[in-house]
């Protein structure tokens, strides 16, 4: 990984097993820069929370080392790590008022009463909850509790804040609003944030970089646009956004490109991102919006793929057309509802067009669709 030695948080060869048999985290190498907003994204059970707990000190790494500001922290107990944490269930202390909750980290640090009060008021202002200091957490709505949990993790001014699916319990609208606010706070305070979510939209909109987890391994660590447009493997392509896959065998290589023969005999040229030798199987990944239903509309040099229309779905601003290509009858084409865009009828044969740089030949692996939801 990049700047391994000067990262603010560094995981180096970290492994974790709860029961001594199964490795929940297999080989984690990750370096997080100071002030970065890094998201761990992955399906449920992929080991994200475990990584966060190891960083916070509530679980010990079975192997490997975690560095914080270049110091190994494996043997530092959680309360000495100065890491703020926001829990999925907020973990606001129900027997204390909001103000007492916020003052708690300041009290254990033996700050003076007036300092405590001033900091609590400041942080309440910051999350726009000044009027709620005397309420109990149970008297707040989910969104308000969320803000208080956030405020509590920030009030003692840690340099690193961990958030484990902090918005998971909120409804969609509130979640989007809070995403914006968290992002905003991060930019304002400049703290380093390690954020865990299984919601890819959340990951893409908020983060500087996203680490896609599956099965205890980071599948790809990249900026959101790279992750979407240039997935390195089949899992990432499937997990992030909508994706079409075509199964085929590598026939030959031409520079960066590989010629792949589909099962129905068609040959497609695709960027050779993650393929083996000639004769090996591969999966071609194509984003639905990078395919034209009319090949003529593509720029010069586009390649043609033939298929049969199975279904046409009108969605207002876009059309989704489901097409059978080779053995894949879930091939989706997304087209803008423009005046010139034709509406295809089921049963029609079409010639689709796409650029070969938008076709990415990836590793051949079957991805369990259910994991992705």
């Amino acid at each position: 990984m990049t700047d391994k030695d000067n990262g603010f948080v560094v995981f180096s060869g970290v492994q974790k097993s709860y029961d001594g048999k199964i490795l929940v985290v297999k080989d984690l190498n990750l370096s997080i820069a100071k002030g970065e907003f890094l998201t761990m994204l992955g399906p449920s059970g992929s080991g994200k929370t475990t990584c966060l707990l190891m960083l916070a000190g509530f679980e010990t790494a079975t192997q490997g080392e975690i560095l914080l500001d270049s110091k190994p922290i494996n043997n530092i107990p959680p309360h000495k790590r100065e890491i703020g944490m926001v829990f999925q269930n907020y973990a606001l202390f129900p027997h204390m008022t909001v103000a007492e909750n916020l003052a708690f980290p300041l009290q254990v640090r033996s700050l003076s009463k007036s300092d405590q009060e001033q900091k609590v008021n400041h942080v309440l202002d910051m999350v726009q909850m000044s009027d709620f200091g005397n309420r109990r957490p149970g008297q707040l709505s989910g969104g308000q509790q969320q803000r208080i949990a956030l405020a509590r993790a920030l009030v003692f001014e840690p340099e690193l804040v961990l958030m484990d699916e902090p918005l998971g319990a909120l409804d969609k609208q509130l979640r989007e609003h809070m995403q914006f606010e968290i992002k905003h706070l991060h930019e304002r305070l400049g703290v380093t944030v390690v954020y865990v979510t299984h919601d890819q939209t959340e990951a893409l909109t908020m983060s500087d970089r996203v680490a896609v987890f599956n099965d205890g391994i980071i599948q790809q660590l990249d900026a959101p646009d790279k992750l979407y447009e240039a997935p390195n493997n089949c899992f990432v392509a499937q997990f992030i956004g909508e994706n079409n896959t075509l199964e085929g065998t590598v026939e030959s290589f031409e520079g960066d490109y590989a010629n792949v023969r589909l099962e129905n005999g068609q040959v497609i040229s695709a960027l050779a991102v993650n393929v083996g030798k000639v004769g090996e199987k591969t999966l071609i990944s194509i984003r639905p919006e990078r395919v034209e239903t009319e090949a003529e509309r593509c720029p010069e040099g586009a390649q043609k793929i033939t298929g049969e229309v199975l279904e046409f779905i009108y969605m207002g601003d876009v059309f989704r057309t489901r097409i059978r290509v080779g053995s894949n009858d879930e091939f989706i084409v997304k087209s803008r509802n423009s005046p010139s865009q034709q509406r295809l009828q089921p049963g029609e044969m079409v010639t689709l067009g796409c650029m070969n740089k938008d076709c990415r030949a990836l590793d051949y692996q079957t991805v369990n669709k259910e994991v992705l939801t």
């Binding site: 309360h79 973990a91 202390f93 708690f104 980290p105 254990v108 003692f156």
Partner: protein
Amino acid sequence: MVSVDSIIGRNSLHRKVQRSLRIQKLRALGLIAPLFIFILISFVIPIGDMLFRSIENQLVSEVLPRTTEYLKSEQINEDWEPPNELFWHLYVDLAIAAEVKLHTRVGSRLNYEKTGISSLFRKSGRSIKRFGADDYRKALTDQIPELTSIDYWELLAEGTKYGYTRDTYNAWKKRLIENDDFSEKTKPSDFLFVVLANDIKSSGTTPSPDTILEEKLLPVISELPEIRFKELFLETDEDWAEPDVWDTIQLYSPSFTNGYYLNSADFKKGSDGPELRPENERLYVLIFSRTLFMSVTITMVCLLLGYPVAYFLANLPLKYANLFLILVLLPFWTSLLVRTSAWKVLLQNEGVINDVLVAIGLISNLERLELINNQTGTIIAMSHILLPFMILPLFSVMKTIHPSYVRAAKSLGATPWTAFRRVYFPQSIPGIGAGSILVFILSIGYYITPELVGGTTGTFISNRIAYHISSSLNWGLGAALGSILLAVVLALYWVYDRVVGIDNVKLG
């Protein structure tokens, strides 16, 4: 505009809704009815009965109506002497009562208040048969043989002239009927002839339809020796001359009494209001305070032992937690008696614990610890028996405390101890509240274990209650003690609610 139709429609809809609500209510009532009836029969009624018995005192005035009526106007003090007439009433009352052995019950009842009265009544009940009433019977029936028949007495009782005779006869008859002893062949008892003779003598000169009766009997009666009741009673037992005895009868003649409650508080009824019992007779205040003290101690011991166990269980993975929970519940599967007896084996002077302590040289053979038949024994055995009632509510409350709370506290900079003290412990208080009140209320009324291992110094108030219910048969006192126990528990519950708050009690 509202049409007629729509009004009718609204009303019938309203009625339909009402009906279906009513049906729902009835169904709900039907579901709770069996339990409600059961509780009524097995709980509310017995408690009501207990409260009633603790003040009820009808026996004395019912069995000795004439005596108590006469005593009402008497001022009894140390110099007072029982007048002759009083013994006459006592004679009639006792004679009726002795017919069905009721005098012994009154004797026992009064004996709770003053020892010796029981034997006094028993003796007198026997001796009044020898007061000479049979001479009266013989003399009167010689003159009028019909007097041996109950029918003749019925006729006499219908007349209005001999009021005292009529009332006595009817009271006598009523007692016999109650006892299923009355028929047409029943012979009138001897004392009735004394009463009749007395009546005739005192009303002899007034003309009346019964003049034949008087003409025939008056001469005989005047020749009969007068019965000197006072002397005869005093001959039987000179205690009858004691003002104290009469004072007791007078104090307990009303139908309701606070005597049992005074007794429960180590007071007794005196002629000038309640007075404290002498030091050597005081008992119940000591036992009540001992019961409270030991219950509190047992609750604390259970809490101290149970809290760590519950904490340990609540933080164990579920499959192990279930296993350990079964171990906690295991004592429930063995009989209480067996467990208590096991403690006897362990704790006694020659028992396992003492033997081990002697064997490892911690104590010498001569100074074996007194672990049983005292408060220590009761506290040890009862803490063991009630421990699950502390652990279970604690466990189920702790189970609901998500580990993220303590983690949050630690991530905010709290040491493990501070995190426990300020975050975990306050959230476990509802469990402490529930467990404590459960253990305390169970222990304050516990009976069998203190009985077996408590000796004399380690027994509870419930042991005294049981003694009065089944051995001394002083149910009134037992009921009063029970009512006080109930009141104490309710009062403590109220205090508890004010201090801890009953919403702070959670069983899970």
